[in-house]
Amino acid sequence: MLIRRVFNTPNWGFRSPFDEFDRLQRQMDLLGNRLLGRGLERDAGVFPLVNLSEDSDNYYVRAELPGVKADDIDIQATGNTVSLKGERKIPIENDGAKYHRREREAGSFSRMISLSNDVDQEKVDASLVDGILKVVLPKAEKAKPKQITVK
């Protein structure tokens, strides 16, 4: 009876021998989802997450940047890299405001993205609409695929 009392006290944090298994199962599920789910690769772990795509003429970089103003973003393209830097500011509300929930984050971000080919720096176009940044980077002429005619 002494053993029963000791092993059931909440302080020990040991409700049942299977708690640890449940936790391990959940962790494995999360890991499995991340590795196998829906064709997503592991992200770079840097804010902002981007979606990068291309067609024969351009590279396209998209990122979700809600609440960021166009002036607070600095984009630079050099050779085959694009750097995306900026800051998200959350305006301070007047005092007397009591927060119930605070999930959004403010701060600075800085990210470099490497492309497989050079881009034409002069013709890079970026637009920020509804919190979505879209950067169109035309590929440098020599990097575009050329049709080779077979005679």
Binding site: L49, N51, G96, E105, A106, G107, G131
Partner: protein
């Protein structure tokens, strides 16, 4: 003077949708800040990619429901190289304990951030009752 810290990456929170969706696609829960002061409750939600026409705000039975539709972004001709985030609609529900003046709800959508102002009902001001003497 205060150095701004770096924003950390946070995966978008995908939710199992509460009801059957008519359109396929993932459903995400937007990050929100909620605060109140004496006269109103303010809710700020990050919903990038949602336009004003695609945002649906519903308040009934003390439950506030936000639904924002997001158009699919990439054109079909593009070939994806890296896809780090998915796009999908945003849905979130809150239960309101305070009584809200529904006529004066104000919603503003700017840069993908929704600012929803819910004024509290003014408490009835006590009225002094005068007694008329016949």
């Amino acid at each position: 003077m205060s150095e701004s810290k770096d924003i950390q990456v946070k995966d978008k929170q995908e939710v199992a949708s509460p009801a059957e969706q008519t359109k396929p696609g993932p459903v995400f829960s937007p990050d929100v800040d909620i605060f109140e002061n004496e006269k109103e409750i303010v809710l700020l939600a990050d919903m990038p990619g949602v336009k004003a026409d695609d945002l649906n705000i519903d308040l009934r039975d003390d439950t506030l429901t936000l639904i924002g539709e997001v158009p699919g972004d990439a054109d079909e001709d593009e070939e994806g190289i890296v896809t780090e985030y998915q796009t999908g609609r945003y849905v979130r529900q809150f239960s309101l304990s305070e009584v809200v003046d529904q006529e004066k709800i104000d919603a503003k959508l700017e840069d993908g951030v929704l600012r929803l102002t819910l004024p509290k009902v003014e408490k009835a001001t006590p009225r002094k009752i005068t007694i008329k003497t016949a």
